[in-house]
Symmetry: D2
Subunit: 431 residues, 4 copies
């Protein structure tokens, strides 16, 4: 029997708090889960620094990846009567679902920003390189790894398959909204996924939604909007991320300036040098970064030491609403005042902004484009969601942005009360 | 105003998936949570290796500690009309609740076994030593740290306070059953805590339960029984723990035999030497152990390398039901056969047993004694639970033990099929 | 001790699936619940005909009334530190919460429409008349019943108290959204009530919301919007209601035309005559209406018999989208066609519309006005919600209306296929 | 196409709060649900008088019947790979599941006791008589109604099919435990049904459970035990039932003694005369009984009027623990004392007992016998559950009985304080 067709003797299940059970029958899926590259996702938190705001948010990308797989499994099972798929197509979409986040590293957002990495590129490299994952996928067929990578990369020819994995209402988003709501404990993030799965219909080039399911989709979109602002962009989470980013900045700057570390940061050297290999990359996880952050508590450099201590012990920066674009003059003055009192504004005065597009109709060519949601009317015609739903129309295409300025209030407060700079700094920040 | 009496300006809350919100009004509690020793609990999983069986079980001891505090806060608030406590008594029981697990290290069970440690001793040392926690507690009063340590140690004079923290139906157990059920996703672990809190009554020397709440308590006890056998003693979890224990054994043995590590395991040296200090201990967390386990993938020693690879990539040992006490001869023969085929049975043939006492009436002097549960009858008299409840009586004092034998099936299967030893090994294991 | 101050010896609780427990400590509340007028609410469904669409929606107004009381109890308990209320004020708002729906009869919406009744007027009459409820309330003070009636009527002087009971985010709405979601089983209707209660602040003339709670309020408003369209205005529910309304119409018309009923409908006579007394009214419940509907299955009149049979056995009318305002000509033609084939359009061709204002800023003097929601900014100033929230602004004041035309498809289909009228009727309906 | 094979064009779903969705694809099922006899179940509460104790317990037998059908649908769908069923077998078990409670009337327990009825007999009669249900079933085949009746009656030849509907772990019990827990809001009644369904295995003559699912079954059994004592046998519920039973007794006694009712109780005459027809029976529902109970508030007979007033307004009897078997003398004395003070003990001094067998191994020939639960060991052999599970063994076959004595405390308290009889009555009751 072809490996592609091999079924496990008995279905295996994972107990999952969000989807109750994750069901696995295909040997390929079972073998992929057992690879070191996939197991590594257990050591990378799904929500980065969010656990400092929501202490329950300690779940890993391993969790989420299984969840996306399970949702796609259910979608495909619902489609079985309506589609005439070959076996490989089914496996293709299941594997792409399982592996779509494989290239994430620890605190990806910060690492990507500081070191110019791209986790999607690493996903491709892991799938196509000399890895456990590639070894399993090749057993399906020589060209299979490439196809899986293309589906994840949205360049695969069969647009229906791509849209199951990546659209404005795909399995990825449906899993993370519910999962992150579950683990943080917030009451947002609920929507009737079972109903959405029931009203999904496969068309030649995309998944569409039966019109009768419109309200369930509205609910999903509002859910998403709330999760962004209540959880993902929470200012305390961003404070921890700002500090983390600055730790990486500082460590790199020290390395490039020939500073001598007490403990040479072997795992970071190729990152600092800008020539990280796949092997180096997959070795990185949150144990490794945590180890170095703790080691750096012993370093001579005051800034690195202080930032690491803040991150480990959650002594975060405070923040104020502040749009630096509107207040260039004050920002310059603040920087100057920080220098004058001996605080390096590069590491201690950080502006950060988040923005979110709750739902977007199609604007080809734009960054982060995801396919719009189409409703299938009773007559079989399609209609873009925001043209049918008042609620979605109302929020569609409206980008909301939030600007914050982060700083170490404890250090500022420790300045002498009669310091002119201190008074002026507080005046600007809390005017 | 005395520090003891200081309230936060506005109540702070933590969003908690189990108790919805954790409420903090006392400055002492807020300051304790901010100490490095308490924040460190974020880096230690509540359920050790259980996440390899239940992927959702990635929550930390930080989570659980907040939960126990919150339950005790609610108990104390219910008692306020019935008790005439001084302010310090209230703070005492809240602080003891928050800090009761402070001395846990990574994978405590394995570390304690291999290195002869005792996490309760470290809890005491952190509370009484030169630490952030001690510094905060001393602000209440000079004798306060000692009192908190005594409550946790069950030696404090006021037995009512001790029983809120440690009994067969205390806040510790009520939190972990619900929390572990929530994160694993199992359907056990539910009971009506709100009702139990409502029927708890403070007596001079213990908390008792109004008789009308008996069924809720029965439900809690059955819940506990199920969680032990379905989650805590799950054989896959124990397989991972067996491997972890053997990693520590091997690393220590190598160190003592003057093996040269490629990367000297600085964080383990004092453990290996048996003279670990408080500072060394609090530096240990799961980032540190994870870092070494990964580093040891590069070691020359085959056993250490293999065990670490198994642990990180979840290539666990298989198991069979096997009671070595009943099968001494077979165990000896198996060991011999393992040696003959070049597998060291000390590291690859491990018997492990778990046992549980679902509920126990009082047997003074026994190990792990916890106070029995007393019902308060309408006439005010007390009656021990198992004398009133048929269900509890039926399971009371009945110890259940489960014996398993763990081994690397993959290695055994890779032996040549015509190997006499292989055949005999499989014969014994799967007879 | 004044009756007003009497507490129950021990707090009583009701197990409630939505709020877990409903707590009662005041004797007044306990005694009110025991009155015949309040117990009568057990025999009136909270959601009228919705159980024909959502079979779980069989819960009564008794359920909801306890729920509103419990929410108000929690609000008042949260306010206790911030308010300097006299005892009577507390009781006043609790009693008003418990009794606010007391005047509802069976299927109020239909009965009110057909017989020109007003349930709010009956609430007042029950509170002020010679009833069990009035008897209990008078024990608090002679003027207390009048005050309770005024609070429910929104004419009471203390606007803060009124706004707890009636505003766009009052206890009434918070209970019914959650309760109706729970019993129908839909996944809408969830919002973080605990958080909303925490951010509610009493001001002199109204309850306001701390700005930090804005997102929880947004979530509540979206929840409300979804519940209206997914549950309350469900077209199948409205079909049952259309039939019910027509039963009442027909029975009244027969009575007025001196038709002789086999079983004289004693309980309806004063309704038909338009001179119903309080006693007659409180005797009405869904047992009584159900009894007559079943009896009328034996009546000679074809229309009454058919409509009752449809209602009891859920043989409902079908519907199409149809705005009679836009299609006056077709509506006239349809009526004519119905007459021609012997179907009385007055009873068998019914247009029905529902409309909803998801959130409204203040427009004094308009029907059904409820107070807008005000946010309290950190500086203490108030800001109307839709001026702060993009989402709410987007949907604010936008009335959505849905028009449907109901008809008995089974009867139409039974017409001979070559009937010109049948063909034309279907042409118009399904064009 | 044979009616048997007809599928609905599109699957229909009912939103169910317990199972999320109830799925219907077969035309037979859809048509059965639409029959008057099945719709009538909406007018009969699942839990009789329990709503007086748990106000949420207002759900109907319609709810439960759909739920049992849905569970059986899932079981059958899981079995499809393992069984070689003909189409009719599948429909047979689905129809039997849907219709198993069809013969229930209002407050069956009381009606059966007073009038010597048997709801199972009426289930058979409805299925086999000239009814809507029979008409639908006959379309499958002429012998189909008889087979459905036999499955429900446990006399059908295929014992596997019978055991899906009736055993100690059948779909009936699994639905009602979860459903009644949901609507009452109690925290008992939860178990992992999804897991139990996954470990069910069809054998020739019964459904068995894979041994690995033993703990889930233990949890189900404990759940059942708790629900019996916490919900089904709640003394307040039984108080309402005692009163209801006495209403029926009194009305019958009055009728037989030629008492002239103000409103002749037409619907009860054949019951009183002991010659009720199927038509009379299916006309009974809780609207009808409620109508008469209200009408009887106007009757001359003091006892009937008082009992009805108690039932409608929930002025229930109080109770004490009292085993009349052990206290015959006191019971006789109490009766005498009641007579002396003018209270008829036949209607106002009622002993009532409940008993439950949490789990039973097989004892053929006993009343209410249900099949024991068999575990299927890895070697394929079967083992009766209580021989494998310590917990189940501990409670197996242990009947627990609870005796209570009910009386109108309000009437007794209204007796003059110096009444010798009053003093003695209270002495006996509250000794």
């Amino acid at each position: 029997m072809a490996y592609r067709d091999e079924k496990l003797e008995e279905e295996k299940v994972f107990k999952d708090p969000v989807h109750r059970y994750v069901h696995v029958r295909d040997r390929v899926i079972w073998d992929l889960i057992a690879t070191p590259e996939f197991q590594r996702l257990r050591r990378i938190k799904q929500l980065g620094t969010s656990y400092m705001t929501f202490h329950g948010a300690e779940h890993s990308r391993f969790n989420h990846s299984l969840g996306v797989y399970e949702i796609v499994r259910r979608i495909v099972s619902n489609f079985e009567n309506r589609l005439n798929w070959k076996k490989e197509q089914r496996l293709l979409v299941l594997c792409a679902a399982l592996l779509h986040d494989l290239g994430h590293g620890p605190y990806s957002h910060s690492f990507e920003k500081v070191f110019g990495l791209d986790h999607e590129e690493f996903t491709r490299k892991i799938i196509l390189g000399n890895t456990g994952v590639n070894h399993v996928l090749r057993k399906v067929s020589a060209s299979f790894p490439k196809k899986v990578a293309e589906v994840i990369n949205k360049t695969y020819g069969d647009k229906l398959i791509v849209s199951i994995i990546s659209s404005q209402i795909d399995a990825d988003r449906m899993d993370y909204l519910q999962r992150d709501a579950y683990f943080t404990g917030v009451s947002y993030g609920h929507f009737d996924m079972e109903r959405i799965l029931r009203v999904m219909r496969p068309r030649e080039d995309q998944v569409v939604i039966k019109e009768s399911g419109m309200h369930a989709v509205e609910d999903y979109i509002m859910s998403r909007y709330q999760m962004y602002w209540q959880v993902y962009f929470h200012p305390v989470t961003r404070s921890a991320e700002v500090i983390l980013t600055k730790i990486l900045h500082r460590a790199k700057a020290l390395y490039l300036s020939d500073y001598t570390f007490k403990l040479r940061p072997e795992h970071f050297i190729s990152l600092f040098d800008g020539d990280i290999t796949l092997d180096d990359y997959t070795r990185l996880d949150e144990n490794i970064t945590g180890f170095y952050f703790q080691s750096w508590l012993e370093e001579e450099d005051d800034i690195l030491r202080d930032l690491c201590e803040r991150f480990l012990n959650r002594r975060l920066f405070k923040y104020v609403e502040f749009n630096p674009l509107l207040h260039v003059k004050e920002m310059v003055e603040l920087s100057k005042l920080f220098y004058e009192v001996g605080i390096d504004p590069e590491y201690y005065l950080i502006d950060d902004s988040s923005s979110d597009l709750p739902y977007d109709f199609y604007r080809p060519g734009e960054e982060e484009e995801r396919l719009p949601i189409h409703l299938q009317l009773p007559n079989g015609k399609l209609k873009e969601l925001s043209r049918q739903s008042d609620i979605v129309e109302a929020i569609s295409g409206k980008k909301r942005t939030d600007h914050k300025l982060y700083f170490p209030q404890d250090i500022l407060e420790a300045l002498p009360d009669d310091s002119r700079q201190k008074q002026r700094i507080f005046e600007i920040l809390f005017q």
